[in-house]
Amino acid sequence: MTTLPTTEQVWAALAQIPDPEIPVINVVEMGIVRGVVIEGNKATVTMTPTFSGCPALHLIREQLEQTTRSLGFDQVEVKTVLSPAWTTDWIPVNAKERLRQYGIAPPKPKSEQDSLIQLEPSPTRCPRCGSLNTSVKNTFGPTLCKAIHVCNNCQEPFESFKTV
């Protein structure tokens, strides 16, 4: 009889799954995996969507299911929850640093803003040269979670992870 893995081992296995669109951080660091519960030979993994229209969600769900199943469970269920709502505050500091090294300005700490419009958000630091002299070129970028900026110091365009 084989021994089934512990919840910690399941978490560790899931942390090997890179985010499909931003492979320098994994789906656990991204805050997508919310819980792992083992009952007998059944594992239940709870996930939450990042952006509700993100096309990578289907892939992530499949990968969570396959990875968990490959650990030897007979039954695997992947549940989706919306609460608490996903926030970029869940991304750990070291993962944010990896984002920066990858060329994506990491998300800032989320402030609970009540105003409908925030037209002048605090400047985003250029991930290449570190300058704060940057401008937003587009609130929307190549994926739902990113915006496009340009650095007025080093003249390079760059992406930032939206603060959600």
Partner: protein, 252 residues
């Protein structure tokens, strides 16, 4: 849940989802055709978000009646859709599209802010989720209204023309769905009257600051979401054609 409340909630969720699906499709019509690349990308993002929101609203309905969101989106006839006429109007020029998106985003953002406190927890959770994304839309279209309204004589005229056309249509966003009063009484959804007051105050201020005049005669104001313009038939013919050609298709 009482059956009449359940029915009313199904009607409301359908209306929410249908607005998002049709508006998303209208936004997606600009893909590859927007005035500049950045805006092409932005509007494609907005369309994708709105589809995500529709999926959430259909998902909440599914918990109540087991419906299938693909069936609802791709196999209903126009007469069964419950979107407002505003979102089905042809995309028009860039001013028309940006103004409509602004009027809708403002309504949606205000509604979501209030719906976060819904006594129906699944709705409260979804509203809180969607609101975080919707803010980016409003920020974007708010800026476009200002940019075009205060831009050139031509851009101002185009915005004014769009406003004269859309203002009456936009009022339909605040017409309750059948049984919505029951939901309001239960604290499940915000009172649309209160949302409309906020919307009028906020939109009037921004439109006027952008050099636009509110129409003295708002013109046609649709009421029932069961009625549609002829444009819904043609948009559905395009949107649903692939699904109807091959109902077994799993990957498009």
């Amino acid at each position: 849940m009482k059956s009449e409340v359940r029915e009313a909630l199904i009607a409301k969720l359908t209306a929410l989802a249908d607005d998002e699906v049709i508006l998303a499709h209208r936004a997606s019509e600009w893909t590859g055709h927007a005035p500049i690349l950045e805006e092409d990308i932005a509007l494609a993002n907005i369309a994708q978000d709105e589809l995500g929101h529709a999926t959430l609203w259909y998902g909440l309905r599914q918990q109540l009646d087991g419906c299938d969101s693909d069936q609802l989106a791709f196999f209903r006839e126009a007469g069964e859709y419950r979107n407002t006429e505003l979102v089905e109007l042809p995309k028009g020029d860039w001013a028309f599209t940006m103004l409509r998106q602004f009027l809708f985003d403002l309504y949606e953002t205000l509604w979501l802010q209030s719906a976060k406190n819904s006594s129906y927890q699944p709705l409260a959770d979804a509203a809180n989720k969607v609101l975080r994304e919707e803010r980016f839309h409003l920020q974007h279209t708010y800026a476009w209204v200002e940019r075009l309204g205060l831009g050139t004589e031509e851009s101002n005229q185009r915005m004014q023309h769009a406003l004269d056309m859309q203002w009456g249509y936009a009022q339909q966003l605040f017409v309750p769905t059948p049984g919505e009063d029951l939901l309001v009484a239960e604290g499940m959804v915000p009172d649309l009257g209160a949302i409309k007051t906020q919307w009028l105050e906020y939109s009037t201020k921004h439109l006027q600051n952008a050099g636009l005049k509110l129409p003295i005669n708002p013109g046609y104001q649709p009421t029932s979401r069961a009625c549609h313009t002829e444009h819904l038939w043609s948009i559905l013919a395009e949107m649903q054609s692939t699904a109807r050609w091959d109902t077994e298709a799993k990957v498009w």
